[in-house]
Amino acid sequence: MRTGPDRTALAALALGIAGVAVSGYLTVVHYGGVALACQQSSLIDCEAVTTSSYSLIPGTDLPVSLAGLAWALVVVGLASALLSGARGADVILLVWSAVAMIPVLYLVWAEIVIVHRICLWCTVFHAIVLGTLLAALVRLQGAAALEEQV
């Protein structure tokens, strides 16, 4: 019998896998020096964003997509743990995705205020982080509601 909380774990797993794919692609593009598949317009310019200094982890030559890749891999691990019944993984997932919103909002600020261009791939990843946060929240709500019913 599948219940609501299991569906949110599956959603988190799907979001984690999507995050690995997007951040992995951005990392490969960074190190491979190949052009990003991205349409360019007056607002959307992936290259302007991914070649700006905000595309690097401060004080390093490492792309922020590498940090995103590490984050998404952990999400995949946590979601797998939830599906296998591990206790406490839901709280860790909530904290992990909430903390990730800090750099996400910083990077959105850099895109909108500094670079004045939006990177679609980055936006997809930011949406994945937000989606994971909401999934973790819904899952904990479901667990809390179940506990209250008992």
């Binding site: 919103m101 959105v108 500094i114 929240l137 709500q141 809390a144």
Partner: protein, 290 residues
Amino acid sequence: MQVSERAGTRRARRAQRQPSRGPRPRGRSVWRGPLPIVAVVVAVVVVVGIFVAISRQPAATPAEQSPVVNSAVVSKVTSVPASVFDQVGAGTSQDIIHPAPAGDVLKGASGKPLAIYVGAEFCPYCASERWSFILALSRFGTWNGLALSRSSSTDVFPNTPTFTFRNASYASDYLELSAVETSDREGKPIASMTPTQDKAYARLDSGQSIPFIDVGDRFYSVGAGYAPDVLSGKSWDDIAAALRDPSSAVAKAVLGHANKWTAAICAVTGGQPGDVCSGPAVKGIQLPSK
């Protein structure tokens, strides 16, 4: 399946142990329902909305009224000690300087090697490239009439602080400069290329992009040696001060790229002047060969 069944069994046991606990306090109901989800989404939308509002505010741009010559700033920028250049070396700049196809060194009317710059005032990449080019050339001669400017307020990396070559002149014992800003900050045409500039631009810049720099037809670049956002949010004075700190991000980008241009210029001046061209940073730079 096992998860919910196990949890249900645990809860059932707990309920048996604590039958008299009764319903949980009403205050917990805030945690249930759509409120937390809506609150997170609304908070994100509000923050992004604030970012959009900030980005639409016009920047205070002293260069908006008319190009302003600020001799004090220019003097500060063009007098960075050689020791700082040497400490920075290649810095964090990208390798955008390419060797030109074989040929004689391009010379100006005076017989000295000729450097060409083609750019525009609206262009943010021209804005960042100018800093390095100005600093490199200042080691071989003297600038006059450099005015403060900013890149377009509506383009990528808006309002990047820089200078304009519009009314600037350059005097040197070692090379000549032929620079043109084809458009103003709003993109309106203000000047045309000379035949010499046009010929070099057409020959070396296949994509017809700016900024374009050609040093004696031996080395050329298209684009900027570092991203303009290194300069964003800073005043000219801030940048001038940061240029004297070899550990600053500004110095590593601007001076690192200036050292590469210095090495390229030294290659066409025959290593003159010696005190500049024999400096450790310049000697340590490996320019690409044909």
